[in-house]
Subunit: 344 residues, 2 copies
């Protein structure tokens, strides 16, 4: 199994990316990686780590695409960027099955969509980031921003993609799928939601449990939430933003009184654990589901451990044969739809 | 000034509603209230409080509309409900200028929209709840759920309504208005957002500061966020849900170790303050903006203090002449649009 690791564009690149790849290599004997980026920088990091070179290749691509670059223009113009060369590798090398990047999201989505191709039948790939729930489990959100305008049948595709993903990458059995809505009753929501609800009920291969209000995201009652990329983006960024702002406020308030500082001294470990708990890096990257090959987007601020998690996520998806399972589910879904259309 | 208070339908009705009205009466000498609900229950509460009766009227309406009732059916069938009788009072009595309710939201929106009428030019009323920011200020969210499908020009109307509201009810000067979006760049978002952005830039009488990502809601950099009711609902419920879940988790974690319990003992007051800070009841009710008369929806779990806050909010809106200011802004907006259309 060969995985390409884009070693530029993250806040801690190339150090975190090279080290993360090396951590994953040590844990998976059948894994090989291709490190893509500035060769000199990568070599320096490998030397620092004292990494064995037998399962590592290096591809020189010194240009960087940043968040300020317009995605479509960057793809055309920055041909020597680590991101474009990584995508090229994924596209042209049959052995390379996945790409891990901590670089610019917009350019990654655009390049992957245009150059890698989608699983047959999938309208557009979708992101599925993972959050921790308050009961110790996880919940996936699909889509979280790759598609801001979506059709009802795309929500069914997100349900299929996310279900197969949670099964293969996280071992979740028969994931409970909910539709993000403004209320739990089946008739709630806008036109998109009202049309999607019965379609989701009729989608084979998923376990649809109805509508979910956003306040219940972390309740542990749902494994996967399907939504358009606009509201999914609001959902995940609000969750992260509120948790971080609240922890920051508590920190400020503690510093305001000696008595609180004393109390906090006893609770130091707990506060560190809360912070780690809400650190979404700990739950792996956001996978672009529906692409022909696996693309994992790690957070821009990923450290080596976070990059290693992204690489291992790709390993598990590959081992679990996720895309083949998606194809089987899609075929069933399309057959059902064709049957329904004929019956009308 | 006369305000109707719906005394049924809330979790703590009629006690909290009657007591809240009485608290507000004591603070505003020119205020009169009409308590609508089960007469015997209201009388009992008034007696318990020893309330002076000179500025209080009671209207008997014993039926309750609950969250389980279908709004449109409830409006037609439950004619003797406190909610419908309150709306009737607001519609027919020229002296009654506002209604405060802690009852079923759907029925309240439907009844207000159908029976009270809108300010001329407003397509549909919108909710504008208020949240505290981490810098000690407040931020309004308009719309938060009354309109799940909206047009770009409605977002401009939400900006006008919300701006005049924040000025008259909270004394915010020249509120900074942001458009909820998936990124801050002007070209971000779906079709609705892309169309609305330049319209908002051209809207007179508001201070549009660009796009806002949901993670910055509590940053204190914005006074008003405009959005469709679907994503606004996700925004506010996620914020409340995450904060509550996180505080609950911290509470559980504290109970897990003696050492943490000791530390928390020193910080008891701080944790109570955090809880109060995130208690959205403290920031008043959600006002249905754009209706001809003021409708304030308090949270279902409102206590007496929260109901009093809702009544006083209505008093300030009335004193500030909010709807007249909205009419002036709308006239300016329409004139600008007519001018732009002519120029094309």
């Amino acid at each position: 199994m060969k995985i390409a690791v884009d070693c530029l564009g993250g806040d801690n690149s190339p150090g975190a990316n090279v080290e993360g790849a090396w951590l994953a290599l040590q844990r998976h004997a059948d894994l090989r990686v291709t490190l893509v980026g500035d060769e000199a920088g990568i070599e320096r990091e490998l030397e620092r780590l004292g990494a064995a070179r037998d399962r590592i290749e290096v591809v020189h691509a010194p240009e960087v695409i940043t968040g300020e670059d317009k995605p479509t223009a960057a793809i055309r113009q920055k041909k020597d960027s680590s991101l474009i060369r990584s995508i090229q590798l994924l596209r042209e090398d049959p052995e390379t099955c996945a790409l891990v990047s901590t670089g610019a999201t917009g350019a990654l989505v655009a390049a992957a969509t245009l150059r890698i191709g989608r699983i047959r039948g999938i309208r557009r790939p979708a992101f599925c980031p993972i959050l921790p729930t308050m009961t110790g489990g996880i919940v996936g959100i699909c889509d979280s921003g790759a598609n801001v305008d979506v059709l009802p049948e795309q929500l069914c595709q997100f349900a299929i993609l996310g279900s197969r993903y949670l099964e293969s990458a996280f071992g979740v059995r028969s994931p409970r799928v909910a539709l993000l809505n403004v209320g739990v009753e089946s008739e709630k929501g806008d036109e998109l939601r009202k049309t999607a609800y019965p379609l989701l009920e009729a989608t084979p291969g998923i376990r649809f449990v109805g509508n979910m209000e956003s306040r219940d995201l972390l309740s542990g009652r749902y494994d996967l939430v399907v939504c358009d990329g606009f509201s999914g983006n609001v959902l995940i960024k609000t969750t992260e933003g509120t948790a971080l702002e609240l922890l920051k406020k508590i920190k400020r308030d503690i510093a305001s009184k000696k008595r609180y500082m004393l109390g906090a001294w006893f609770m130091k470990r707990m506060f560190l654990e809360e912070k780690e708990f809400m650190n979404y890096q700990n739950y792996g990257g956001s996978v672009l589901l529906g692409a022909e090959k696996t693309v994992v987007k790690g957070h821009g601020s990923s450290d080596a451990a976070a990059v290693a998690k992204c690489v291992e996520q790709a390993v598990r998806m590959q081992q679990g044969g996720m895309n083949d399972k998606v194809r089987a589910s899609l075929a069933e879904f399309e057959a059902r739809r064709a049957g329904a259309a004929q019956a009308e």
